[in-house]
Structure formats: structure tokens, C-alpha cells
Symmetry: C2
Subunit: 215 residues, 2 copies
């Protein structure tokens, strides 16, 4: 099947992804150059440009390979579902590729919108849509009222995390932050049931670590 002609060396794709991840982690997105990427990947510029149109195109592939295999969430309670959503978001937003690469990548696709279309359709959209699924099930169980705006709930769950990722001087995304954001979402939903699992799983009891806040 596939096509005629010499096939691409499969390892080169992985080598490039690994090299980009390392360089973003070490230097931050704006300092990553293609020359360094291909050197560290043990390949060359033409091979790179046969696979990707630009560095910007690599990042979605990188995120998919590291965080793209999410299974469905259905713990049976709204609290459990939101805790699980945030557990995954915490993992995403503490990945150094994200903490040091996301802002620069977002700026790139703002300046070159065509490069971000696929990310929007394949990554962002489904994740925001999934909040809707969780809220619909919770409403069907009678845990919350119908009619909540899933977009706003997603904002509450993700906004504070993104803020801590992109703003300098703020503590990394930690268990305290995700637990608080779940509480805020539950408040916005008017949820009045048991929340003990939030602090057990989210672990508010853990000490906040790392850099202190600015304010």
C-alpha cells in the first residue's frame, strides 16, 4: 500500500520531536532554532522540512504524542469527573514543553492563523466539548441544575491554570490550584453535595511548593 518511492525513515520523526521537546525545555520556545533541532536529532534541514512546514507545526504533534491519548471520563459523580479533568490538566500544564513553549506557540499562531487551525479543531474544541458531556451527565443524575454554561465552567477550570503557566513569577500549577478551581466550578454550578474527594484527590493538604506568588 502507501506509495511508491523510498519510505521515510520512521525514527527521524521521533528524533525531531524529542529534539524539539528538549530544546524548548532548555531554552524556551523563542530560542529554538531549526539548525539546532536537526543537529540534535541527527538529521538535516531538508528532512525536517519534508515533515513539517515550520517549527510551529511540530508543537501540536508533540502535544498529541505526550497528552493525546485521553480516555473518556465517567467516574459516576460530577465531583469525581471534575477532579479527573483537573488531574489531567495539571499533568498537561506542568509539562515543560507546555510551560516553556505554549505562550510562544500561541503567539505564532496568532500571527500565522493558518498554522493553528488543526490544533483548534482536533485538540481545543474536543476538550471544551467534553465539559459539556460531563455537565449533561451530572444534570441527568440530578446533581446540578440544567442550563449551566459549559464554556464558563471550562474557563474556571482552565483559566487559573493557564494564568500560572504564562505569567512570570507565579507558582507552578499544583494540587492546591487544581483543587481550588474544582471548588470554584462546583460553586458556579450551584452544587451542594459532598466535596470531600476534591481535597483528598486534589490534596489541598499538600504544601504548596516552588516559587511563591508575587503578590
Amino acid at each position: 500500500m502507501s506509495h511508491a518511492g523510498r519510505p521515510r525513515k520512521p525514527s527521524t520523526d521521533q528524533d525531531i520531536l524529542r529534539a524539539v521537546a528538549e530544546l524548548i525545555t532548555e531554552r524556551g520556545y523563542p530560542r529554538v532554532t531549526i539548525d539546532e533541532v536537526v543537529e540534535r536529532a541527527g538529521t538535516n534541514k531538508p528532512a525536517f522540512y519534508r515533515r513539517f512546514r515550520s517549527l510551529t507545526d511540530v508543537v501540536p504533534r508533540l502535544l498529541a504524542s505526550r497528552h493525546g491519548t485521553d480516555e473518556d471520563i465517567d467516574t459516576g459523580t460530577i465531583v469525581g469527573d471534575l477532579v479527573e479533568v483537573q488531574r489531567r490538566q495539571r499533568r498537561l500544564f506542568t509539562d515543560p514543553v507546555v510551560t516553556r513553549g505554549f505562550a510562544g506557540w500561541l503567539a505564532d499562531i496568532d500571527a500565522h492563523p493558518e498554522r493553528g487551525a488543526s490544533f483548534l479543531a482536533e485538540y481545543l474544541g474536543p476538550r471544551r466539548a467534553y465539559t459539556q458531556v460531563i455537565l449533561d451527565r451530572a444534570a441527568a443524575r440530578g446533581e446540578i441544575a440544567e442550563g449551566a454554561d459549559p464554556g464558563w465552567i471550562a474557563d474556571l477550570l482552565t483559566g487559573p491554570l493557564i494564568m500560572h503557566v504564562v505569567m512570570p513569577g507565579l507558582a507552578p500549577v499544583d494540587s492546591v490550584l487544581v483543587a481550588r478551581s474544582v471548588h470554584a466550578a462546583l460553586d458556579a454550578l450551584g452544587y451542594r453535595g459532598d466535596r470531600s474527594i476534591v481535597d483528598l484527590e486534589g490534596a489541598v493538604s499538600e504544601q504548596r511548593s516552588g516559587a511563591p506568588d508575587v503578590g
Copy 2:
């Protein structure tokens, strides 16, 4: 006074700031070049580099000139104070210099931390600290309990706004978003008093405009 020697032409500073603001608005931060900046400002590269170490250094000056003259906030109620905070934040986060420039600038200072130190000390820090002042006064009035974490309240007020600024496909920061964020902050503070001013001033009744959300 000052020093000996020919003084800098004062208009050049303003011309550069204006040119950078225009180019960020038109093209997005990553596509702004120094050559274009100085051409549009009617000056030249040496004059630019006598004033700024890099493009990254211009942005804080730009923000200060557009949003730096904040007067103190003291409306007499916690609700009024938070509404006013968010009114200003809405103005900030709908400025095209911010919506098209902030992510790229944040990425730059992540990669070159020394360039962001002054912004952190002079802009971010004081704003987060101001939340503390507002909460302390509210606690002294008995509107809320003591001991609230002003960092978390600031996260709730600013996180969703930043998210809508940097994530592609989300609606611009509007009155609905700021009103909701004030409600979330009041919920987190356990505030049980009158909130009618939130929806009057924040105007939840306004229709949401512009691009719809992705999810």
C-alpha cells in the same frame, strides 16, 4: 540640570511607541521587525537602540503609557471594588496591543528572564498586591471573613480573562465574562450580601458579541 550633551529628541520615544503599537495590532507580535518599526516611526536603528535594548523592552513602556495611570480603588463595598477592578482589566485585555502582543512578549521574557524583571516588579506585583488591599478593607468592614487568599482571588479574576486573550477561537473578553468572574470571586470569598451591582455595571444583560466559543 540633567546632563551635558545634546538631549534626546522627545518625539522619537512617542513615535517608536506608536509604531510598535500599530505593528503589533496589524501583524501580531512575532511579525514585528525593528526595521519596520523605525521606518514607520520616521527614525533609525541606532536611535531605537539608544532607547531600548530590544523590542521586548518596548512593551512594558507601551503598557505603562496606555494603562499605567490607575487611580486607587475604594468604592466602599467589596462588590463595587471588584467590579471596578474588572472594568479596568477588561479595558486592558481588549487592548489590541495586549490581545496580539501579550503571548509573544511573555514567551520572550520566559526565554530572556532579565528583560522581564522590571515588569514583574513594577506592574504585576503591585496589581496582585492591590487585591490584598481590597480584601483587607472588606474584611475590616465585615463583608467577608478574614484569611482569604488574595492570590487565589486574583487568579479567579484574571485567569479566565487571560485565557480568552491567549487561546485561539474564544470570544474576546466581554462584560459577561467579567461579571461571571466577579461572581466566582465573591463565591470563593463566601460573600452573601447584595450583588445586584455586578450585573448592572458588568452588564450580564448585554448580549455576548463577536466570535462564538469553540466548545
